[in-house]
Symmetry: C2
Subunit: 412 residues, 2 copies
């Protein structure tokens, strides 16, 4: 199916009726954009998934309530620099103030405004600057690809590059439907809604129930299969807004149109997730693990995630070191039972593919060849479990000096 997916220019503004903006509000960073707005000219159905962390940031609590209880949403306001997490009642009051400010300026209800924050935990927002930022965003919003890019840039924290994508497909009744998205995420990234903010917009007409179901299913093999550092954030949020402006017959059952929509949504989510993994803090390489012939899908996911989450495996990738025992070790402590004598291990990248482990021991491979394969910017460890037919892929990145540097100095 994937070859039918048409990737197009743009991100959150690619779908009909969506506008965006990014601006400098001086929240914490200097001389860079740090606030973004996504706005829909028409009311949207919304779906969301949020961090599983017991410690939930104020905007996460705010958004959960809106997604579950509001009749519709129409805007998302995001700031970078301060996470508004561990901020008590004051933090919740600031969320409400943000929503009221945006609602007033955009002439929409207060409970149609979603809020996102990312950055340092434990600090209060400078609410005056936030309000001034929202004013600028409301004045600047536009439906152009450039406006979408400004928003994608404004939500970055330690990200080194913006992350956006858009795809288009045609429904059975001949309507063009667009799904676009942007996200940020680099540190505090780990399965179970990784530390990330991800915003997906679509002009598809789809029931709220199916929108939430599609999102809930898609995150399992996209965002929840990446890890940068094993830390599940307080602020993880993924939202999908659907305004129906494509004019297609509303998707209300799991028919061919639902399948196409799901495919488009999952393509966008997987792309954004991989972008986050590859742009992990300090990363020099995207480090993927594909586990196949596993006894169950869940086993495959757990094994793949265990490999890309292992600090020792990540450090080996950074060192271009074919230290395959570390990958085996990570498989072994994943919690999945298997026979180490039966499985096989391979390395693969743009520079080739080679087997390194079989029948319980190393195969006779060339270290130089292995180093050459592991020196690429995208490296995959392949594991044949020989236990069934299920497979899964997880994405992470290497562990570098730079990761430590970024996180030892993050607040200063």
């Amino acid at each position: 199916m994937e070859q039918q997916m048409k990737q197009i220019e743009g991100g959150v503004t690619a779908a009909k009726g969506f506008e965006a903006a990014g601006t400098e509000a001086g929240i914490k960073y200097q001389n860079r954009k740090d606030m973004a707005l996504v706005y829909s000219t028409a009311p949207c159905k919304a779906a969301g998934t949020f961090t599983t962390n017991v410690v939930k940031a104020a905007p996460v609590l705010w958004d959960k309530d809106i997604v579950e209880n509001s009749p519709f949403v129409q805007a998302v306001v995001v700031n970078a620099g301060i996470a508004n997490a561990c901020t008590g009642k004051q933090g919740m009051d600031y969320c409400r103030e943000e929503a009221i400010t945006a609602a007033t300026l955009l002439n929409i209800p207060e409970n149609a405004v979603l809020i996102g924050s990312t950055g340092v935990i434990g600090m209060q927002l400078p609410i005056d600057r936030i309000r001034e930022g929202i004013r600028k965003l409301a004045a600047a919003k536009a439906g152009t690809p450039e406006a979408g890019t400004l928003a994608a840039e404004a939500i970055m924290t330690t990200d080194t590059r913006k992350k956006e994508i858009a795809v288009r497909f045609t429904t059975q009744d001949g309507k063009e439907v667009t799904v676009g998205g942007m996200c940020k995420g680099s540190g505090m990234i780990h399965p179970n809604m990784c530390t990330m903010l991800s915003y997906v917009t679509t002009d598809a007409a789809i029931s709220r129930t199916l929108l939430q179901e599609a999102l809930g299913t898609s995150i399992i093999d996209s965002y929840n299969m990446i890890s940068v550092d094993g830390d599940t954030s307080t602020n993880d949020t993924c939202l999908v807004l659907a305004n129906g402006l494509a004019g297609n017959a509303e998707i209300v059952q799991k028919d061919a149109d639902y399948d196409r929509f799901y495919e488009a949504l999952h393509f966008v989510n997987t792309y954004l997730a991989k972008q986050m993994a590859g742009d992990g803090e300090g990363a020099t390489a995207l480090f993927a693990a594909t586990v196949y012939n596993a006894a169950s899908k869940q086993d495959a996911r757990i094994l793949a995630r265990s490999v890309i989450s292992s600090n020792l495996s990540k450090a080996a990738i950074y060192g271009h070191d074919a230290n395959f025992g570390r990958f085996l070790c990570a498989l072994g402590y994943s919690g999945v039972q298997f026979d180490p004598e039966k499985i096989e291990l391979f390395f693969e990248s743009g520079a080739g593919k080679m087997q390194v482990y079989k029948d319980g021991a190393a195969v006779d491979y060339s270290e130089e060849e292995a180093t050459r394969i592991l020196s690429e910017s995208e490296v995959t460890v392949l594991v044949d479990m020989k236990a069934g037919t299920e497979s899964a892929t997880a994405w992470g990145c290497d562990l570098t000096y730079e990761y430590v540097k970024i996180n030892a100095d993050y607040r200063s």
Copy 2:
């Protein structure tokens, strides 16, 4: 009770009848000792706990069998440099060859010889050099403190210092009982029998059942409460050998003597565990987390381990950064349910103690004061859960450039 514990000089040779040796066998390292022997002049009861990793090194499989099925043990042969893990049938054959060699030279049965290996996974042992090493060890063994130290040095890999300790107590019938130990462990350290080799010797007379029970209980709050990098090794092994030469009435029930023995064993295990955490690869500080007033003991353990296992928390400790949100975040994703508004957070070290979080938000604390406290070589994060009466402490270390360097270059 702990004040009654008398720490004495020495390690594995402190208890009556135990001898040791360390020698250069050229397994992988050059110009350093890399093989050790622990030997008892009298047959020992043995207890052991081993890695929970599905991928178990050959010596782990060997030792499990010996501990469970041999009538007694009398020697342990250990090598550093190569782990003899992921080595298939050849690896098991080499274990047997090691045991036969040692048994022949020491005039004890083959199934009285325990084997330990640590180092690179996936390489075969140079068995000729191993055999030659065992010959040298058997010739050099002695019951002196110096011999114990040589053994403790020989089992190091990336450790920066040897780890040994001995304590002595008196039984109700007036006999002096000694418990001594040595261990190695620096990388691949994580709860569930951390990557480590730990060997404890005692002259106590104690039933095999109670010896295993004492060990099994003690590891829960000692070795299993430390983490360096979240990677549970293929080789984790903790062995206790008891030869009964102290002459005390054999401990066969949980009486006052059992309690004293347990206390001594746990003191030794806790000391060795903390030594490993503080000497974590690249570490500049011992990073402890004490969780108290938790609803259950298990909650307290999980919460404490989550804090010291978090890469972001560890990097903050390295940066002497009072970024308390990261500790809260790690508590939040631990899996334990709690109310973030209720708990309180403190930092403590030799330089003082201060509160940083209360009532769901930061307290008004001095950043300079916090940095001063966090700049010590031993730093503790204290968490008051206000949910019950149980507490636990976990030990880890900071995450540094040096950790990455060691692990990106480990094999080269």
